[in-house]
């Protein structure tokens, strides 16, 4: 991906200097090389800080909402990976961003790495991760280590949606087109096959870890309400950690419900969760149900499509279908 980075910097520099765009929304390294955060670049000199590597998992489309609102002149150049373009389309569908203000460069991706997974594998003091195709060379202060690339992929990349760009002005890609990832409903099906008590215990355990930091909400491209229902003090769910544990459950169920049918399954919620709650399992449950009951639907596949929950047909399944299927 170093190659893509070079090409992106060159092209972004050109577009900045000829005035097509006035700022670039890309990635920048934080304190550590794997600590990559979204950043704006406003001149060609700053672009040397632009990073595009194996840890650029963040989905930049949500940052466009605020960027489109500021009164600055000119267009914004944004780097979008194939999966990010789904969120981009969904935001366009919901009129949250202005297509005329944005210049999209689709950047090739071969799956991003999850530093938490690497750390969990026992690698300590990582100073550098080199990508050698299917294998990773991990340089640590305790010596060089190796591991399989597939074992360190982000959850969303394990279940990759494919390498097609759904929206772009130009594409910079040198990677070979990869294959689609594993079946994303595997985890959901596993839970569905448990008994009711096991499921309750599982979710109780997971959701009780929640510290209500709201990171999942803030990063989610579908959670873009100007005022969130959970910011309303009379909603009964505005409290933070001092609340009872019901609130955490309600927060996550309702949040998943509010994005149901609009969630592109970008997996950002699970990626940013500091407590490692598998929030994608909630979203994927809704996606799975929608696919099974109302026909396959991928949010963000095309601009202007009508989400399943703001739509209906006269012969939809009756709610009793929930009772009829299932394992018990």
């Amino acid at each position: 991906m170093q190659k893509v980075r070079g090409l992106v910097i060159k092209r972004a520099g050109e577009l900045l200097s000829d005035g097509t765009v006035t700022r670039v929304l890309g990635y920048k390294c934080g304190d550590f090389f794997y600590d990559v955060t979204p950043a704006f670049f406003e001149s060609a000199d700053q672009l040397s800080d632009l990073e595009y590597g194996s840890f650029c998992g963040a989905n930049l489309s949500k940052y466009l909402i605020n960027a489109c609102k500021d009164q600055k002149e000119g267009k914004i150049l944004v780097l979008l990976k194939p999966c990010d373009t789904y969120s981009f389309n969904q935001l366009l569908t919901e009129h949250r961003i202005d297509r005329d203000k944005i210049y999209v460069i689709g950047v090739g991706c071969k799956g991003m790495l999850d530093i938490e997974k690497l750390k969990a594998m026992g690698f300590k003091g990582i100073t550098k991760v080199l990508d050698n195709g299917d294998e990773l060379d991990i340089k640590t202060i305790y010596g060089d280590k190796k591991c399989k690339r597939a074992d360190a992929l982000l959850e969303k990349c394990v279940c990759c949606k494919g390498k097609d760009f759904k929206a772009f002005d130009e594409v910079i890609d040198v990677e070979e087109p990869g294959e689609k990832g594993a079946d994303r409903f595997e985890g959901v099906a596993l839970l569905e096959n448990m008994t009711s008590e096991e499921r309750f215990a599982f979710w109780n355990n997971e959701l009780s870890k929640c510290i209500r930091c709201n990171a999942c909400r803030n990063v989610c491209p579908a959670c873009s309400c100007m005022k969130c229902v959970f910011d309303n003090p009379v909603s009964g769910a505005a409290g933070k950690v001092n609340s009872n544990s019901f609130e955490e459950k309600m927060f996550h169920i309702i949040r998943a419900f509010h994005v149901a049918g609009r969630c592109t399954d970008c997996g950002e919620c699970s990626r940013v969760c500091p407590q490692g709650i598998p929030l994608h399992l909630l979203n994927r449950k809704f996606i799975k149900d929608i696919d099974e009951l109302y026909g396959d639907y991928q949010a963000g596949e095309e601009v202007g499509s009508r989400a399943p929950l703001v739509n209906f047909t006269f012969d939809d399944a009756e709610p009793s279908i929930v009772h009829e299927r299932g394992n018990e």
Binding site: V188, L191, E192, S196, E197, E198, R199, F200, A201, F202, W203, N204, S208, V229, S235, G236, A237, S243, N244, S245, F246, K249, M250, I253, I254, A256, F257, A260, L282, K285, F286, D289, I290, L293, Y294, P308, L309, V310, N311, F312, F314, D316, A317, E318, P319, S320, I321, V322, H323, G326
Partner: protein, 148 residues
């Protein structure tokens, strides 16, 4: 959950959301026709089944409901033309999700009851109360970590 001290007998708490135009009138008709339905069913009147916010149902479970039933006009008969079509999709997904989270799917139900179906209202409520009584107390959504 409620404990009747005298009878020492557990009684379920059932919350029924009834739409103003059909089901609530149906409940009324059940009353005027002297058809009985269990007193464990607490009816909450809503303008339309579409008004039922998923949060209402979660709140009901938080406050200790053992079962939640939503009643509305038959599809096609909605006072607001299409409200119950949206409600149908929403509730299907929500109840499926609650089942996924470990609240038994028998504890949630949607029934379409028209204003003329007092008989059906009584039958549905009796049947639902029977189901919930057999299932017993609900799992507690709210008291795991911060028991007060």
């Amino acid at each position: 959950m409620q404990v009747n001290e005298n009878a020492k007998e557990w009684k379920p708490l059932i919350v029924a959301f009834c739409c103003n135009w059909c089901s609530y009138a149906g409940a009324d008709l059940a009353g005027t026709s002297r058809l009985s339905y269990p007193a464990d069913v607490k009816i909450i009147r809503v303008p339309c089944s579409c008004r039922v916010n998923p949060m209402f149902i979660l709140k009901a479970f938080e406050k200790g409901a053992d079962g939640v039933i939503m009643c509305g006009c038959h599809p096609g008969d909605c006072h607001y033309s299409t409200g119950n079509y949206y409600a149908r999709r929403r509730m299907t997904l929500l109840f499926s999700m609650l089942d996924y989270l470990g609240i038994d799917r028998k504890r949630t139900r949607v029934e379409w009851v028209s204003a003329a179906e007092g008989q059906k209202f009584s039958l549905v409520m009796n049947d639902f109360a029977k189901t919930i009584t057999e299932l017993g107390e609900n799992v507690k959504l709210g008291d795991i970590r911060c028991k007060k």
